[in-house]
Amino acid sequence: MHISEGVLSAPVLLAGAVVAAGGVGYGLKRLDAEGTVSAALVTAAFFVASLIHLNLGPASVHLVLNGLVGLVLGWAAFPAIFTGLLLQALLFQYGGLTTLGVNTVVMAAPAVGVSLLLSPWVGRKGRVGLIASFGCGFFAVFFSSLLLAAALICTGENFKVIAWAAIVGNFPVMVVEGIFTGFVISFLLRVYPELLPGLRSHEIRRDTEGV
């Protein structure tokens, strides 16, 4: 989910850049050396996972995964998503340099948001946990499309229809993201809770065998 170059107005670009810089700076500050290595590798994994396309009827949707990024990395979602977008700009020209700030905020702010709001609930047993896990994926994309729409509308009234289309058009993606995120969280809770907050141990597992 990103906005192309050449669309947004100067104030919107500037606001995006400032907020993104703040988020990235704060996210980095919370990472120690070991956490940075971990964040780098996890970011690479998210980058690869975001290339997965899921079938949706005759069409296919590709994953955003920002809710999951937020849940796994917390505030480090800002530098992680910034990194991911920069590499996407370089490798696929999705987005560019001037929109990097706005696009980072569009994806990372909801990521941090859902992680702060929902992470206490995802570990719960039964229906509560399931709904919270689904919500992580669903609402992260939902809030992202709201932010994207806001960026467009702030640029000009002409973009109102496109902004609405972005929200409505992303609805199937939200549902798919919710389901997918739910499955991933359920996997991690059972197999490797170290990656999820609350259950996260402070250090990276050092053992490579006898796990």
């Binding site: 059972r190 197999v191 490797y192």
Partner: protein, 240 residues
């Protein structure tokens, strides 16, 4: 002679950008009930060969015939994958479900079984491999040997007609190695086992060939010769 299950003829594969083909003009036939061993060092193209058989790579030249029909296109290989089971060299690459039962039931479910039926099937296969009480274990937390046996279960659960085993003894402890040998010896399924472990091949196959410079050396010019080795008896692992 028993019926030919699979025949590869004139298979050649070169990796994009590679200067030389890894597999060149390879001919190979696997007959019903046959247990074939293929001695191959690392880098000799053994994994490539298996990927070609399963249609994960497309050969530049050559024809694969499986179960009486020439295999063509993705659709043809889908049928091959139903009937040929491949055991990866690294069990960590083969197992991706949270629990053992889910992993073993995954294949049967893809073959069209319902969830419960697939789980029943999975339980059966686990039992025949002596993996009692493993159903709800977390696959990821199993030991290397246990992972290898579960991988085998995931493959056997699809009731393959041919079994391809890629270095099945790598990193195995002695105990699991023994169990693997006894399971394979009891199985009537035709198989092609690639390994660099001569002793193992001797025990689980009836004929041993070599993969040399991209082709299978099938002549029977086999000689008996002897080696002297120094090592501790008993406890130490005994790899030759």
């Amino acid at each position: 002679m028993a019926d030919a299950l699979m025949t590869l003829s004139g298979l050649t594969y070169r990796y994009p950008g590679g200067s030389e083909p890894v597999i060149r003009g390879l001919d190979l036939t696997i007959h019903e009930g046959e247990a074939m061993g293929l001695i191959a060092p690392n880098g000799s193209g053994k994994t490539t060969l298996f990927h070609l058989i399963m249609g994960l790579l497309k050969p530049q030249t050559g024809v694969i015939t499986a179960f009486g029909q020439e295999v063509r296109g993705e659709k043809g290989f889908r049928e091959v994958r139903r009937r040929v089971g491949l055991l990866f060299q690294d069990a960590d690459d083969q197992l991706f479900s949270p629990t053992v039962i889910e992993d073993v039931a995954f294949g049967p479910m893809n073959l069209g079984m319902g969830r419960d039926e697939a789980r029943e099937k999975a339980r059966e296969v686990l039992a025949t491999l002596g993996l009692f009480g493993y159903e709800d274990r977390i696959t990821f937390r199993l030991s290397g040997g246990e992972k290898r046996m579960v991988s085998l279960a995931t493959v056997l659960a699809m009731e393959p007609d041919v079994l391809l085993l890629d270095e099945p003894t790598t990193g195995l402890d002695r105990e699991t190695g023994k169990r693997l040998i006894s399971v394979l010896r009891d199985s009537p399924v035709a198989r092609l086992v690639i390994s660099h472990d001569f002793d193992f091949l001797e025990q689980v196959t009836t004929g041993i060939y070599s993969l040399v410079r991209g082709t299978v050396v099938m002549d029977d010019g086999l000689h008996l010769h002897q080696h002297a080795h120094v090592h501790r008896h008993g406890e130490s692992v005994h790899h030759h």
